[in-house]
């Protein structure tokens, strides 16, 4: 559940994060109407609490996945809940790329597409790794709510067995598992970021 929605959220977030960066005023593919449309859309989805998004997206989820419950039913809302957040993370990572460096690439005859791949993305690998780490951890947090549509998962497990059956040890094991998982992700992310900072 986390894996599949993570891959989709990464792809969408990356695409829209780059799009927001290059279409803004003064960007290499400046297109202010597109920028505003993207910007507003991202803000719109970012303002909806995930548990509400989960319910609100049911018709769309059913349309895309054929079902609005279970793991299938959780993936669409998880992507919608995570991609806008990741878009902002990418946007912030790319904004670290100095305007002058982009100008230098333009002066050497690079096309906008080349600038996206050879300058923006290449120069901000460290920032993207950090943003990805934060987003992945965030995604794990959101997936705990997926139990609400019957998708199971660790959150569901902790509530059902730990809370409702009052098996506190189950809750603690869940917590420990999550701590270890998040720790592993954070370490990996930081290592990639460090390796790409010069």
């Amino acid at each position: 559940m986390v894996g599949i929605s993570g891959v989709f959220a990464f792809a969408f977030g990356m695409f829209f994060g780059v799009a927001v960066t290059v279409t803004r005023d003064g960007g290499v593919m400046e297109n202010v109407p597109v920028y505003h449309a993207l910007d507003k859309t991202v803000n719109f989805f970012r303002s909806i609490p995930f548990i509400i998004l989960l319910a609100a997206l049911i018709p769309l989820t059913r349309l895309i996945m054929g079902s609005a419950i279970g793991v299938k039913g959780a993936i669409v809302p998880l992507v919608f809940g995570t991609a806008p957040f990741f878009t902002r993370q990418i946007e912030s990572a790319l904004s670290e790329v100095d305007r002058g460096v982009v100008e230098a690439a333009l002066s050497m005859g690079s096309s906008p597409v080349e600038i996206i791949f050879r300058v923006y993305l290449r120069e901000s690998i460290a920032g993207i790794a950090r943003g990805t780490t934060i987003t992945a951890i965030n995604l794990i947090g959101l997936s705990a709510m997926a139990g609400a549509v019957g998708a199971g998962g660790l959150g569901d497990f902790a509530i059902r067995y730990g809370h409702q059956r009052n098996q506190l040890d189950v809750t603690y094991v869940t917590v420990l598992t999550l701590v270890l998982a998040v720790n592993a992700i954070q370490r990996a992310g930081s290592a990639i970021a460090r390796k790409n900072s010069h």
């Binding site: 230098a104 050497m108 290449r122 120069e123 010069h198």
Partner: protein
């Protein structure tokens, strides 16, 4: 050859617009080092960006080697830009790439294969004297080294033109000189046309053949560096020249009533400026002998600009009033600019207080 024809650039803001460049026309010859100098905000950086169309002129046309840049398609423009190198004040290197990778960046579409790129990068590194920094990241290089990498990167595709936007402004004087020497050598070795944007007259003096002085988006004055220095026509030009010459310090000294410039009754302070390329006579000795004057040199600044001496002296002249007048006449005849900047010849009988008033007055008139 670069030719700008009535170029203007206006930046439209939300409620006001800024005219950064106003109706500039100039020609830069092939193989020349051309300076564009101005204080910050004069529009010089915008102007240089109009040459490779990083800024598209609002009006006017830009010709590079006879091609009107403003009519090119995006794709043609990108191809053209590969033949116009550019370096920047902040170097603008790719931080995530090593020196060699930075230099290899523009070679991606050059048709060279991997080993061809490697050879070319080595060649460029040795051209800028950084053979041993191949694998260093920009953060491991000094400012001067970074700019050398940037130069190598800008030259990767054998451009005929190199645009330098304040390329030495972030560097210390020593490093600046080294870099200017490199640019001069590149110009001599490859005949590359160099356009230098700067706010430092020192840079112009050091390497430029011709210079344009910009103010408020316009070109105030333009010409050969020697003649501009020898005979500046505009106030802004004189201000720039004063920044490079210690001769202008004399005004500060007089204003501050320094003991070095205090004169006795009957004496006067003269500022002599050499205006011609041919000044080689022993002028001071000549006026001493011929007019019986003691000339006490308190300041001097003679420099070679474009291979000819240019500069001047500040002297305290002492002797008979007629002698001084005759000497001034003689010097002017020899094409030396003479300026009496402090005159105490007619004040010998005045009490001290009034003398001060009079010299102060004279100072203002002659300044």
């Amino acid at each position: 050859m670069i030719s700008l024809d009535g170029v203007s650039k206006t930046f439209a803001g939300r409620d006001s617009s800024v005219e950064a460049v106003r109706d500039v026309s100039l020609r830069i010859n092939r193989g020349e080092i051309y300076g564009i100098i101005g204080f910050s905000g004069a529009g010089k950086s915008t102007l240089v960006r109009c040459i490779n169309l990083l800024e598209r002129p609002t009006r006017g046309r830009v010709f590079v080697d006879g091609v009107d840049m403003t009519t090119l398609s995006e794709k043609e423009l990108r191809l053209k830009r590969r033949k116009i190198g550019m370096i920047f004040q902040q170097f603008n290197l790719f931080a995530s790439r090593t020196a060699a990778q930075n230099i290899a960046y523009p070679l991606k579409n050059s048709g060279l294969d991997k080993s061809g790129v490697r050879d070319r990068v080595r060649e460029l590194l040795s051209l800028v004297g950084l053979e041993d920094k191949e694998n260093s990241y920009p953060s491991q290089l000094s400012g001067g080294q970074k700019q050398r990498v940037a130069i190598a990167r800008a030259l990767a595709n054998d451009p005929g033109i190199l645009l330098c936007d304040e390329a030495t402004s972030a560097l210390d004087p020593q490093t600046t000189l080294g870099l200017l020497k490199l640019l001069k050598n590149l110009n001599a070795a490859f005949g590359i046309t160099i356009v230098v944007i700067t706010h430092e007259m020192q840079v112009v003096k050091e390497i430029c053949d011709r210079v344009a002085i910009m103010e408020n988006g316009r070109i105030a004055e333009e010409g050969e560096v020697f003649s501009i220095f020898a005979d500046p026509k505009q106030r802004i030009t004189r201000e720039f020249i004063d920044t490079t010459s210690s001769l202008s310090k004399i005004y500060g000294l007089i204003g501050g009533d320094s003991p070095a410039v205090r004169i006795e009754p009957g004496e006067c302070i003269l500022k002599l400026r050499y205006l011609e390329r041919s000044v080689s006579e022993a002028l001071i000795s000549t006026i001493s002998r011929r007019f019986g004057i003691d000339a006490d040199i308190i300041f001097g600044s003679i420099e070679l600009i474009g291979g000819a001496p240019l500069g001047g002296l500040v002297v305290i002249a002492r002797g008979g009033p007629s002698g001084i007048d005759a000497a001034i006449g003689y010097l002017r005849q020899k094409n030396v600019g003479v300026e009496v900047i402090l005159d105490a010849r007619g004040v010998s009988e005045l009490p001290d207080s009034e003398r001060d008033v009079k010299t102060a007055h004279l100072f203002q008139v002659n300044r």
